[in-house]
Structures are given as structure tokens and as C-alpha cells.
Amino acid sequence: MIPVLLIVIPLVTGLISFFLKEERSAKAFALLSSVATLAVSLISLFQSGDSLSTDASWLPMLGSRFLVSLDGMGKILTLLTAVSFPIIFAATYNNKYKNPNSFYGFMLLTQAGLMGVFCAMDLFLFYFFWELALIPAYFLCSKWGGEKRIAVTFKFFVYTFLGSLLMLVGILFVYFKTPDHSFAISSLHNLALTAGEENFIFWLFFIAFAIKMPVFPFHTWQPDTYEQAPTAVTMVLSGIMVKMGVFAVIRWLLPMFPAASVRMADFIMIFAVVGMIYASLIAIRQDDMKRLVAYSSIAHIGLMAATMFTGSAFGMQGVIFQMFAHGVNIIGLWIVIDVIEQQLGTRKFSELGGLAQKAPVLAIMFVIMSFANIALPLTNSFVGEFLMFNSVFNHSVVLGAVACISIILAAVYTLWMVQKVFYGEVTNEERITLNVPINTQLMLAILVAVVLFFGVYPQPMINLCAETVTKIIAQIK
């Protein structure tokens, strides 16, 4: 029942939201809906057994069922989704959008799609939700984005849609290979494929997921889209939606094609690690806060991508942990960037400076989030990155050592951003004040608390996904 609620609440409220007239009611309604979803998600943490899965008839002529279920990994990611949306809504509560009703409607639809992706245990259903999450995102970017939004959204669309089509081909192929012509995850785990077929289909799926993550060299849609999308949407894209790709690899790709994943592991890991260094080096030269964070995100996702293919239990734990941690951290960074952009009208380092004097609280929050971004110990991402680097190192000493260079580079570009934006003399005119609304401060404080809590005591979350990891590792071996 719980996964159904997680999907249905945002879906229904999202549809209703389109018909709301006033801006205030649309905002309040969206916030309320997301809080309700959060409540359900929190309840799910303490549930086990039947209440966590639902199996209903859906498209019988295709052999697809409405099969949704929450395991440990699903719980973590639905929790991330459920936590993020109220925080995003609350932190950007003061932002003005035209047609707020449809903005919030699309946002909630995206949430429904994301929830579905994380719950679905039927491949066709998964595909359905995958698209359900993406399509509203296209609208959000193209209607509420920056100047170059149309071109950028088009790129984003073509990129991700290409991936989706490849995946669709793959889905149909594996469907015909299942013994009982079904899309259920249990039957897909027992595919009888020849090595050649497996390799081929592996790539169809992997490219779709790699574009979404994104992994070098499929990443060029991302900085543009993050830059042009309204920041609330960027938060959803980078905080949650990129995790769809990572999640999908762990949930579907690795268990379905274990042999091919082992064969391709080295190749993909090399690309992922090269991508980490590549993105970090580019990040050093950025002049725009959003683009810098975007490239930093590519570097971090690269590490996850490399780790997933090591096939080690603690690495997998690290990836799942880091999905949550990275989501929280990056949303924190975006919130601060949004405040700056909304009030000062620029994100360029060359035009910013000395904000720590104008808004000390904002500076403190941003510094904490930045240090979380570079995985300082006792912040949540240290735990994830420690596990991940360790497993990459165990897999290959050289790759591990090269990947570790990104730790240094991350410090370089993140601190560069902190220094340019917050330290030094004030560069804008004195009279422009920067006041951080109380709701934004509160949300940042919550995020900081989450960052520190899981940095000091990560064990609850590790325990939560332990079972999933054991299963996946068993399936791979």
C-alpha cells in the first residue's frame, strides 16, 4: 500500500494543482502534498512485509503488472525524493513563477514519476515512470528556464529521449527472452541470453542510464540544462533525477546482465574515472556557480559509476549511501545559489564577492555544504566516498589512485567558489542587501543537520540497505 500512496499522492495532487487559480494556494497545496508524501515515506521506514508491496493487474495483454515494492534501497531513494520536495518548495517559497499552478503541477508529476521509478518492480512499469518523470521536466525547463531555455531543453530532450528509445528496444528484447513473457523483475533475473546478446542489450540499457547519470562522455546536456533550468528544477534534476540512472543500474542492469557487467566493468570504470578528472579540471575554470556545481556533480557521479561495477558489497553500500548524501548536499548548494541569484541577479564569480559580510548565516551554511561536497570527514559524503574509493582501489590500484586525484581537485574548485563568492571585499554595491528569508534558513539548517548526522552516525542508513546489497551481490555472483 505504501508505495502506491507514494506515487498516487503526488500524481493526484499534481493533476489537481493545474486547476488551482491563485499563486498562494498553488504553493501551499504543493507544499502540503509533499509533506504528506514525506510522512508516508517516513512511515515506510518502520514498516516491513506486505504493506511495502502491491501487485495489481495493469496491462494484461502485454504481460505487464502494476508491481511496486520497496526494499532498502527503494526506501532510501523514496525518502530522498520525499525529503527533497518539501525542502525545495519551502526554500524557494518566495520565488515568483508565471503560471504557478502548472509549475507546481509539473513538479508534483515529476515527483510521482520519480517515486514510481524507485518503487517499480516491473520493467515496463519502470519505463512508464521513467518517462513520466522526464516529460514534466522538459516542460519545466522549457517554460520557466533562462534565456537559452528552448535550445537547451531541446538538447536535453534529444539526449535523454535517445537513451529512452534505446532502453525501450532493450526492454522489448529481454521481454521476449523471459521464460514466461513477463516484465516482472523476478523473471528478468533469469534470462537465458547468449554472450553476444547480453553484451548488445547491456549497452542499450547502459547508454540510457549513462546519459541520465550522466557519465563522461554523455554529459554535455547537463551543465547547460542545470544552468538554464529554474533552480528549483535544477535541484530536482541534480538532487534526485540523476540518481535514477545510478539506481537503475543497480536495480536492473547489474542483476539482469551480470556476466556482461563483469566483462564491461574495466572499460566503463576507465571512462568513469577519466570523466571524474575531466569534469574536475573543467570545474576549475568555470565562472558560473551553477556550471561549477554541475561539473562537480559529474565528477561525483563518475565515482558512483565506477564503483557500481566493482561488484564489492561495501562499494555498493557506498553508492547507495552516497546517492542520498549527494542529493542532500547538492540541494543545499543550489538553495544558496538560488538565494544569491534571486537577490543579486548574478551567479558569476567575477561579479560576486564578500557575501560573508552581508549574509554570514548563508556563508556558514554554504561553507558546510561545500565541505560536504568535498567529502570532509564527519559529513555524510565522507562515508560514501570512503567506501567507494576503497572499492575502486581494491579493484584496481591504478584506477583508485587516479580517482583519488579528484579529491584534491574537488578541494581546489570548491574552495575557489567559496572564496570568490563569500570572502574578500564586497564587490557589488553596498546598498544591495542580501537578506535570507527565514524559511530558506530553516531548510538549510535541516539539510546541515542531516549532513552532519549521517556523517557522524551513518549506521542506520547502511543497515537499511544492507539486505538489498547482499541480494544484488549474490545475483551478480
Binding site: 539526449y159 554535455t220 575531466y278 579540471l281 576503497n390 583519488c404 579529491i407 544492507a466
Partner: protein
Amino acid sequence: MAKLAYLVPLFPLIGFLINGLGRKTLSKSLIGLLGCGVILASFVVSVGIFLQVKQDGFQPQIVHLFDFIKVQSFNIPFSFQVDQLSSLFLLIITGVGFLIHLYSTSYMHNEETQHYGRYFAYLNLFVFSMLLLVLGANYVIMFIGWEGVGLCSYLLIGYWFKNNNYNYAARKAFVMNRIGDVGFLLAVFWILAKLGTVSYGDVFAKASTFSTFDVTAITMLLFVGAMGKSAQIPLYTWLPDAMAGPTPVSALIHAATMVTAGIYMIVRSNVLYTMAPTTQAVVAIVGLATAFLAATIALKQNDIKKVLAYSTVSQLGYMFLGLGVGAYTGAVFHVMTHAFFKALLFLGAGSVIHAMGNEQDIRVMGGLKKYMPITHITFLLACLAISGIPPFSGFFSKDEILAAAYEHNKVLWLIGAITAGLTAFYMFRLYVMTFLGGFRGTHDQEHHLHESPSAMTIPLIVLAILSVIGGFVGIPEAFAHNAHALEHFLSPVIVKSADAAHGLDTSTEYMLMAISVALAVIAIIYAWTRFSKKPEIAEAEGAGKLLANRWYVDELYDKIIANPLIALGGFLKNVVEKSGIDGLVNGVGRGVNYAGRQIRLMQSGQVGNYILLMVLSMVLMIILVFYGNNLNPVLKYFSK
């Protein structure tokens, strides 16, 4: 008492939280009281722990707090280890740390309340991280503290964040430390891969299962970490720049905490290092090279803090020399005495800077003796201690390292002794130019000169006493049998390597002492006579210019590392990303567009053309259907 070890870092953490959150509401006196109080509380607990550990037959105790990361068989507990080594470091950190806190209450008193609170919060966090570092019972907890001190140094060096140069210095410190941290992290991964555990007890117990290659690689990587944290070649350049922070911070970084982390870590891992003679040789050479290089640079610096900074780098080099030749006790001993006299020197320098109204250039000082008697006396004592004049503390610890070096390799000893002479020379150059002769500053400054308030002088006096008598815990074998209390105390945590037993006979040892003391005395007399008459005010020329510009190492690093990396970043951003990958992606789009424009022309509107095309395609299809199987294997694949 050892069970209460968790209290030691807990107090500063509480101080950090209260001061950090309440920096706008608390009053200055409350902030100062809290900031110092928590460190004092930690110090009291540390003394209690030390007294317990000091008893004979004390076994190391593990205080397990909770499981930090536990994945299947892979377990990293959050636990503390109380033994001889950690309890000694606790004393140094909290003791010297407390004095520095006390000093800061007065030194920083002109700051706004809000920043005053921020300052003490950072300071407490620094002590917290350092305590975590030495208390941790495994390498991961040590790493947490290890990065923690890096963070705090970043925050404190960049404390005056309006000044962009300071921010650069802070960032440089953090990044250089990070380079070292990566080495440390890789070593941890290596240990984990081989043993599956990082707890000291388990690692050292199973160390014999390492191959020579493994143990050499691990110790080398750990040493890379130590290079970053303890400012050794090639990662030392951040430390002199770290002078950007407030002076008490320099005292804290350079004396009591951060830079000694590398020494602590290697002493902690002495089991591994003893197994890896190659690494030991590298450690000794790097240490000595750093000691010498930094000492030469210090000869020509004119900033009072810069001189002290390079002297710190140089003294740390000594400690690494000691570690490299297996004199672990000697290194720890020097850490301790160095903590006393270097903290004293920095605080004394702070006192001078305070009196001079933030002037740091010794060329405009001089004759401060009569204005600041306490600062003058204590500074002189510290200079004597660092120069290795008996019976001050530096003599004993430096002598122990040099004696061990002599045993190992006479060349090492020779360079070490020369460096000791250089040390004495630049320290007394500093002393003479600052305190003797006539005042060379402006009239305003002269008018303003005064002795510092008692909150600043009391720490100076306490540290001066410690600098004088601190050496007596390690009286060498030559003077009295079995009087080396420190060696006795540390013996449970340090493995005795076969050749480390004092093989020097008494007369040789006397000779070595005599030579190094003689060198130091000559250097002092030379410096005294040369600079008290004619202070060195002119810009350095020739070789001196090379030294004054720090051998151009910073410029070299910029040229060969920083600039190429930035250029590479620009190349990737502007060429590879824009024209390469994105060019390819957009090229596909443009290709489709272009093809569309070209193919459009076929739609001529002439019905005949269309029909012709239709007929041609039909003919083609007929050919393919009837003869295609023989023509094209691809079609065959599809038709199946």
C-alpha cells in the same frame, strides 16, 4: 580515568558548538571564559589519564563509542585508544593549547564580539580535531582528525576573510594538505585491502604478514600524508603562508597541534616503519633536506613570523630525521620541547606585533628590550632553547636526534649539526634585530610601545619555564644512567629495533654534544656582534636574494604544476568540451538539419519525378527480394 577519554575531545566540541551558535548573543568575557574553560577541563582530564597511564604495567585501553562504518565483515569502530603515546600528546595539546587560548583572550580582544566568538569556536574545533587525531584507535578516526585540522587551519588562516591574500593562503594550506591526505587515504585503503582492518592493535599484530613491497608502499603513502601535514619537502610551502592567520593561531598550528600530526602518525606506525628500511631512509633524507633548506631560507626573511615559520619547517625536518634513523623517542621528545619553545616564540612574536600595532617587519623594530621586559626575557630563553644551548630543553632533544643520526650515518649528522648552527644564527639575528639596538620604527609606534597585559604574559612565563626545564625528562645516557624518563615511559608503544640500542660510547657522545654546542655558540656570537652594531636593513642581493625569495620554490610550483593544470582545465573546457564532445553532439544535430535541407530539394513538385523515384525504388525492391539473399548477408540476418 582512561575510560573517560571521550571527555577530552568532548569538552572542546561543546565549546565549539556554544561559541559558534551563540557568537552573536554571548558577551566577550563569556566567550573567552568558555573557550579557555573547556580546554582547561580537557587538560585536567588529560592529566588524570596521564597519571593513570604512567603507572607501571598499564595496558593500552580501547574506549569503544559506537560503530562508525560497519558493512558485513568490514568494520570501522569509532573508538579511542589510550596509551602512553596518546596520553603524552593529550597533555601537550591541551596544555599548550590552553595557554594559547588564554593568550588569545587578550590578543584578539579588539575584534568584534561576533568574530571573537567565531575565533574561539574555530580554535576549540581545532583542538577537538587534534584530540580526535591522537585519540583515535584506528587509522580512519585518525584520518577524521587529520582532515579536521586541515579544515580548521583553513578556517583560521582565512580568519580575516576580507583579505584575499589571506584567503589564497588558506586555500593553499588546505589543498596542499589534501594532497597529503590522499596519500594517507591510499595507505588506509592498502591496509584495508591486505588486512581487512584498520585498528592499530590488529594492524600491528598482523604486520608481519605484509610483504616488503606492501609495507614499503604503505609507509611511503603514509609519509606523503605526513609531508602535507607536517610541511616537508615538497609540500612545505603552505606553512610559511599560513602566517596569514592571527598570531596565536600560528602558535597553535606550529607548536601544539597540526604540524606534529605527521610525527605522531609515524611514531604511532613505528612498527610498520621499522619493517621498511627504504622508507626510513627516504624519511631521513627528506627530513634533513627540509631542515637544511628551510634554515637557509630563514636566514634572509625579514618578517618576524616568516622567520619563525621557516624555523618550524626546519625543526620538523629534524624530527623526521629522527624518525628516519629510528629515534622515535627522540622525535617525540623534540615535538614536546619544540611545542614549548615554539609556542613561546610565536606568542612572544605576537606580543611584539601587538605592541608595534600590527607591524611584522623586523627591520623597523629594534630596542624593544626596554619597553617589553617580560617578552624580551622569555623570547631570549626560547631562542636559547631552540639553538640547543644546555641546559635548555632544545639541547636535550636535538642532541638525541643528532646522536641517533651519527650512529646511522655520519653525513646525516654533519648536515644536521650545520643546520643547528644555522638555526642559532637566524634565531639570534631575529632576536638582536627585534630587541637590541635602537628603535627604527615611526614615532607613533614608539609612543605606543608597551608591555602586554597579564593574560598574554602569564602564558609566556609558563612556557618559558617549560622551555627551560622541559628537557630534563630526557637526560641522555651519557650524563646519568637510566635517567631518560621519556624513553622509559614510551617504551611500551615503540618497538626496539636491533641497532637502535645506544651503541655510542660516552666519549663520542660528549664530543658530538660539544661540537653542536660550539657551532651554536659561534653562530650566536657572530649574529650578535654583526647585527647589534649594524642591523640588516638593505634588500638582499645575490645569493641572499635567492634565499630571501625562498629559492623561488613557490614560483616554480606555479610554473610546473598550477599553471599547466589551469591551462589544461581551460583547454578541456574551451576545446575538448566545446568543440570536441559538444561539437560532436551538436554536429549530429546539424547533420540532420543539413540532410533535411538537401533532401528537401528532391521534393521538386514534378509528378513525374516522384513517379520515377517510385518506380526505381520498386525495381530496387524487386531486385532485393529476388536476389537479395545472395547479395547481402545483413539482409539475411534480418529476414530470419
